[in-house]
Amino acid sequence: MTPALSLENITKRFPGVLANDRVNLTVAEGEIHAICGENGAGKSTLMNVLYGMLPADEGRIVVRGDEVHFRSPRDALAAGIGMVHQHFMLADNLTVLENIILGAEPTGRGGRIDFAGARRRVTELSDAYGLDVHLDEPVENLGVGERQRVEIIKVLYRGARILILDEPTSVLVPHEVEELFRNMRDMCARGETIVFIDHKLDEVLEIADTITVLRAGRTVATVKPDEVSPRDLAELMVGSELPTPEARTTTVRDTVSLQVESLSVLDDDEREVVKGISLEVRRGEIVGVAGVEGNGQIEFVEALLGIREPSQGRVLLEGADINEWTVRRRREAGIGYIPEDRHRRGLLLPAPLWENAMCGHQGKEPYSRKGFWLTPKAARSKTRELIAAFDVRTPGPDVAAHALSGGNQQKLIIGREMVMTPNLLIAAHPTRGIDVGAQAAVWETLHQAREQGLAVLLVSADLDELIGLSDRLLVIFRGRISAALDPATVTPRELGAHMTGAAGEVEEMQHA
C-alpha cells in the first residue's frame, strides 16, 4: 500500500548548522506516527519543511505517491496536510465558529459569509470526529483543551487528511490528554493520518502506532511501541545509556526556612486568586505545590518574592517577618528563584550570558564590589564556572542569551541560582519545555541541593517531577491548598485528579 506520506533524505541547513541530515520518514495511511527527540533534535525543522514553512535544501516529499514541492503552508493544505501548532493561533474575541472559518469563509451571494452553511459543515465535522466544541462561545472563554479542539477542527475544515500535531500534550492536564488521545484514535479510525510530535515517553508509547526517533538532525530509529520500553526510547533519544535511579532518603531538618501564614493575594484585576494559603518548608525539604496553571500559583510566587503585595497574611523567612522587605532585600537574604517562564521573568535575551548570570545577584560578589562597582572580569569567570558545572552548551560567557537553545537557557538560570547557594529556592516549572537529558540534570541538581540543606518550594504541573522530587505534596486548586498528599504513595492518576478538582472528597489540608 502506498504510504500516506514519505520524506526521503530531507536535508536542511542553517548557516553553520545541519538541522536535518538526510532524514527519512514514512507514515502509513491511517496511523498515528510519533516523532520524538530531544530539544534541538530537528523535529520542528522537519515539520516546518513538511508544512511548507521552510524549503528543504535536499530531499523529496511524497504525498500518496506524488512528489510535491511546497512553497507555503497554503500549498501544504492544498495537498491535504494541516498543522496544529504548539502555540494556538486563535483570535480571542471571535467565536469558535468565526475562528474556524477565518480565512476560509464560505461566501454566499454578494460576498456575504454563509454562516449557516459553515455551521452545518463544522457541526458535521465535530460530530464525525467526536470533537466537542461550543460554536458560539468566544474563544477567550475556552479552556486549553477546547482551544486545541478548535485548532484541530480548523485544520480538518480546510480539508486536511494528514494532521501534524506539534507537542499537543504539553499544555494539557492528564484527563485532557486522555480526551485528546481518544479524539486522535477516532480520527484515525475515520481515515485521517496523524503525525504527532512529543517528547513525553509514556504518552508516545500509549498512543503511537509507529515511533520515529530523531537525534542531532538524523533519524536514529523507527520502532513499534510494543517493541521498546520507555527506557530504550529515552536512550535512543539521548544517545547514551541512562543510569539507574537511587533510593529516596529524607534529609528534612528541623529549621523552618519558609513559613507562609494564611496568605491572600489579589491579581491585577483585584480578584482574590490566592485565598489564605498556609504552608512551611524546612531546610533540606522539597515541598511540591501541584496545580494546573491559573490556580493562583503565579501570584503566590510573586507574593513570596515581594513583587506583589499580599492582601492578607504574612511570609516568614528563617523566622523573620519579611512582609515589608523589598524584592532586592529578599533576594539578597538568599531566596533563589527559577521563574515559570524563562523568557518573561528570567532572561535578558540580547545581553551576554555573564550579564544574565548576575541578574538577581548583581549586588553580590563576585559580580560587584561593595554592591556598587561591577566587576565584569570576575563575573565572566564566575559565569565560565557555572557554564562548566551546569553543562550549558555555549562558546563562552560573551554570547547573547538568545543564541542558546531553551534547555541551555534553563540550565543557565538554574546554574545562576545554585552557584550562589541560596537558602530557599522557589522553583516554578523548572523543567518545562526542556528535553529528558537536561530535565534529569535539573532534577539531580535539586536533589543534591536538598541534601545540602536547601529548602525548595517546587511549583509544578509535571506529575513525574512532583512525585519524584517532593518530600511533601500540596495541591493548589482555585487559590486554596485543596489537599496534602504523600508522594511515596500517591499515583500520578490520583494527583492529576486532585489537580483538576476531580477528586471526589477533597481532603482538608493538614500541614505539619
Binding site: P15, G16, V17, P230, A234, S240, L242, P243, P245, E246, A247, R248, L305, I307, T326, V327, R328, R331, E332, Y337, P339, R344, R345, G346, L348, L349, A351, C359, G360, H361, Q362, G371, F372, W373, L374, P376, R384, E385, A388, A389, D391, R393, T394, P395, G396, D398, V399, N408, G437, Q439, A440, A441, W443, E444, T445, H447, Q448, I467, G468, L469
Partner: protein, 395 residues
Amino acid sequence: MSTRTSHRLPAHRRLTLALAAPVAALILSLAVASIALVLSGSNPFPAYGRMFSYGFELETLVDMVNRATPLYLSAVAVAIGFRMNLFNIGVEGQYILASIIAAQVAAELSLPAPLHLTVIILVGMATGSVWALIAGVLKVTRGIHEVISTIMLNAVSISFVVAMLFRQWDVPDESLNQETAEIPPSGRMPDLNGFVETFTREIGKGRVLWGFVIVAIIIGILYWIYVARTRPGYDLRASGINPLAAEASGVSPKRTIIVAMALSGAVGGLVGLPEVLGRDYAYGLQFTQNLGFAGIAVALLGQNHPGGIAIGALVFGFLDSAAPILDVHGDAPQEIVEIMKGIIIFAAVITYVVVQRRRQAEEARAASLAMASDEPDPATGMPSGATESDTRPAT
C-alpha cells in the same frame, strides 16, 4: 568545557560588524544627496570637494566641535532614557528652561570663578532634572506615558514658563536684542583657544573653541562608567531590556524610572550652557533651539553608546559647519546637508538592524556549533550529578 577557545566572535569580525552600519549609512547618504543635487541641477562633486576642504580648515573644525558639544550632551540625555526604554522627548524643554534659569542665577551671583561656574552648572542640571522628574513622577504614580507628558511639558516649558521668565528678566536697553542680565567674568567658561594653539596655528576669524567641550567629555566618561561599570547602571539597562526579569532580580521598576528621568534631565539641563557660558554670557533671542530634538537623532545614530554618540555628534557638527560654504560659492543649496542628515539616520537605523541580525546569526551559529561539538563527557563535562540521574526523578 572550561577550556573553550573562542569566547566571542573574533575581534576583527566584531570591529567590521560595528563599523559596517555607519559606513554604509554615510555612503548611502552621499549617494542620495548626489541624486538630489543632480536633479536640482548642481554638480555634486565640486560641492563635496568644497565642503571637504572648507570643512577641514581649523576655524571650521572649531565650529564643528562647538556645534557637536551641545548635540553630544543632548544625545547622552536622550540615551540615558533609551537605555531603560524611556523616550525622553522633553530634553528640548528641559534645556531651554535650565538655560534661562542658569543664566539668570549666574548673573545675580558673585562668587570666585571656579565656584561660580560650578554653581551655574549645578543649577542647570538641577533645573533640567526637576523638569524631567515631573514626567517621571507622572509615569510612576499615574501611569502616564513619558512621550505624552514630555511633549506637553515641552510646550509648557518653552511657551509658558520661559516666556514668562524672559519677560521678567529681560534687561531693557537701547538695543533691540532681548537678553537676560550679563554674566560676570567669574561665571564664564574659559575658551580653549590657547590650549589648541599650542598644537596648531593661531585660530583666526574670531573663532573661539568653547571650554564646555571638556564638560561634555567628562559627562560622556561618567555616562560610560555608570552604564557599564556600576550596579545602578546595570539595573537601568536590565530594566530596559526586560523589565519583568529585572523586577524579579530585585530592581524596583518605579525607582529606576525616577532615577533614569532625573539623570536624563540633569544631563539635558547642560545642553544650552555651552553657548550661554561660552558665547553669549546671557540667555537671549539668539539662543539655539531644537537641540533637544536633534539629540534624539544623534543618540539613535550613536546607538546610545558614549563613543558612538560622539562620532554622531561630530558628523552632524561637521555637516552643519561645512555647509554654509555651499551657498557662498553657489555650488549647491546648503540645505542639502539636511537631506544628508536625514538619510544618514534613516540608513543607520536600517543598517544597524541588518548588522544586528547578522551578528545574532553568527552568534547562534557559534553556540550551536558548541552544542554539536561538545558531546557531554561524563568524566568532566556534566554537572556532578547529571550522570547519575535517570529520566525520572529518583523515586
